[in-house]
């Protein structure tokens, strides 16, 4: 009956989101009066999970799982859910988790709620609060099936430490047919992705051209942030599509979102509104972004950003 949580990893190490979903699973387990079991793939050291309330870890070790495959992973989670007689499965909101979730839902015949931002508001009937209409509203969704899948939004629940220890159990599920082969992976290394970032530095058409992104990259690097952009910037080819954020691009739910030379169109704001703190730097005090942000600087990005970079370097050096 334990709550099952899929704890994502990369190259043998848990991603930060693993601890957030584990914290969430612990909250649900407390509500249901049960324990938390985590399922992990090829993780070298799973002991950290105990700090976030996990009681038992099923760690699968198999080199065939080094590369993510949605169908195989979904099938393994299903086998773990059956082994544990799980009624509630918790997953995250990464591209990979969102990829496997609907396949898992079909395998378990489970109702699935994505983009969930709080612990269940009720456990009978099982009800969760999620974002809808691309952050323009919240929806309370009741999951009616016997087995339920909850996809937790990044950076929404946070990390909740608890004490205890986790037993590790070897688990050797059978591997299903995959049907899909990975030919190559093209991933920027040494740069934080928008999905994983706590801080996102984003710039728009106000930057005038791709040659001016040096200062944006520099600001991002001082802050350990990911870089992002508005839609026209990616449409114009100034920046890669992967950086396009907003309603039709990637969603952003960072702790800090800094918008530079972005007007704040409704479609842009919808996608980034889940970020906790927003800063706008724009020459036009009438730009709609000033109505959506927490802090604002009315000024020219070409003057403000380099100055901010210098000040932040000094600030970081003091820390």
């Amino acid at each position: 009956m334990s709550v099952l949580v899929y704890t994502e990893s990369e190259q043998g190490k848990f991603k930060k989101v693993a601890f957030e979903v584990a914290s969430y699973a612990k909250a649900v387990a407390n509500q249901l009066g049960t324990t938390v079991t985590a399922i992990a793939m090829n993780v070298n050291d799973t002991s950290q999970l105990a700090m976030y309330g996990v009681d038992k870890v099923l760690n699968v070790t198999n080199t065939q799982l080094d590369n993510f495959n949605a169908k195989i992973y979904a099938n393994i989670i299903k086998q773990a859910a059956e082994k544990e007689s799980t009624k509630v499965v918790i997953i995250g909101s990464s591209a990979n988790s969102k990829y496997l979730a609907p396949l898992l839902a079909v395998e378990l015949n489970a109702g699935y709620a994505s983009n969930v931002i709080e612990a269940p508001s009720n456990i009978s009937p099982f009800t969760v609060k999620r974002t809808a209409f691309t952050n323009k509203a919240f929806e309370f969704t009741q999951i009616n099936t016997d087995v339920k899948i909850v996809g937790v939004s990044n950076n929404s629940f946070g990390l909740v430490e608890s004490s205890g220890s986790a037993t590790a159990e070897a688990f050797s599920p059978s591997l299903s047919e995959s049907g899909i082969n990975i030919e190559s992976v093209d991933k920027v290394t040494g740069k934080v992705s928008i999905a994983d970032a706590e801080i996102v530095v984003s710039a728009g058409r106000g930057l005038k051209g791709p040659e001016n992104w040096g200062m944006i990259e520099e600001l991002a690097s001082v802050l350990g942030a990911a870089t992002a952009c508005s839609k026209p910037v990616s449409d114009l080819g100034w920046r890669p599509h992967g950086e396009h954020v907003g309603q039709t691009g990637k969603p952003v739910a960072a702790n800090l979102y800094i918008a530079i030379g972005i007007s704040g169109a409704i479609q842009h704001l919808a996608g980034i509104n889940a970020s906790k703190v927003k800063v706008v730097i724009n020459t036009d005090s009438e730009a709609p972004f000033f109505k959506a942000a927490d802090y604002g600087v009315i000024g020219d990005a070409f003057e403000v950003v380099p100055r901010l970079v210098e000040k932040l370097k000094a600030f970081k050096a003091q820390q």
Binding site: A95, A113, A137, I180, I182, L256, K276, F315
Partner: protein, 266 residues
């Protein structure tokens, strides 16, 4: 006569070989819509709301038109919804789809919609199903994957590139922080998005397209039995925002101070 009948036979064979594409079209509020709720915050208030083809689906539809024009394919569009969604399907026909299907039931939750669509896929024997990564109204992000699961087809989500030769498929998937090149085979379901085609490839229906769309078949199918696995019980709007704090460009130390000591984000 004999010659013609052989050509006919070849034509029929050829028709059997060309790819059958189904594009799932979600009927969603225009991106500029103000979102309001009625009936004590339990229903989305469609008053004054303009509906459009879900942007992620439009990228997919445009890619489907490319297959039709460059490689030969038939393109059917489908929506699960009431009669009010028909103008959206007609728009897809005007863009160039060959036929449309509406499954006549209210779309209540992702799983039941996927079950209706899976049924259409099985009945029609489609080789390729293109859906959007998510619809911009409920953002469920589950319909494409569930169709794949229910029809035992291969599935690629966040698909930003798709090439098909015979039954072999090469696709690009956007991953967090990069992309992945994949190979697979038909039958296939994708969750598509921008990148499948560029923004500039999107088509605005012209007069001829709109006229032709009126002649095309829009078949209304009755739904199969499919339970709603989730129920939407209530909506809330975000709390109004507090006032912004403005910092002078000459006093950026203050901004750093606020972000560090007040917001505690750096």
């Amino acid at each position: 006569m004999l010659v013609i009948s052989i050509t006919d036979k070849i034509l029929i064979c050829f028709k059997l070989l060309i790819m059958k594409i189904l594009v799932c079209i979600s009927h969603v509020p225009d991106t500029t819509s103000k979102i309001n709720f009625s009936d004590n915050n339990t229903k989305f208030d469609t008053n004054g709301v303009q509906f459009v083809i879900n942007p992620n689906d439009e990228f997919g539809l445009t890619r489907a038109m490319w297959f039709k024009e460059k490689q030969g394919a038939t393109v059917t569009v489908v929506n699960v919804g009431g009669p009010e969604t028909e103008p959206t399907l007609r728009k897809a026909l005007a863009i160039g789809a060959d036929a449309a299907i509406r499954v006549n039931t209210v779309a209540t939750d992702g799983f039941s919609v996927a079950k209706q669509l899976a049924n259409v896929v099985k009945d029609g024997g489609y080789d390729l199903v293109i859906a959007g990564r998510e619809s911009i109204d409920y953002n469920g992000g589950m319909v494409p994957g569930m169709i794949a699961g229910l029809t035992s087809a291969n599935f690629i989500n966040n698909c930003i590139g798709l090439e098909i030769e015979g039954t072999s498929v090469k696709a690009i998937r956007e991953i967090d922080g990069g992309k992945e090149t994949l190979s697979t085979s038909l039958p296939l379901v994708i969750g598509g998005q921008k990148g499948l085609v560029e923004e500039s490839d999107l088509r605005i229906p012209n007069m001829r397209g709109i006229m032709m769309a009126r002649q095309k078949a829009l078949n209304v199918l009755e739904p199969i039995d499919a339970n709603a696995e989730t129920t939407s019980t209530k909506f809330e709007k975000p709390a109004p925002k507090g006032a912004i704090k403005l910092v002078s460009p000459d006093n950026l130390d203050e901004l750093i101070n606020l972000l560090h000591n007040e917001a505690k984000v750096i």
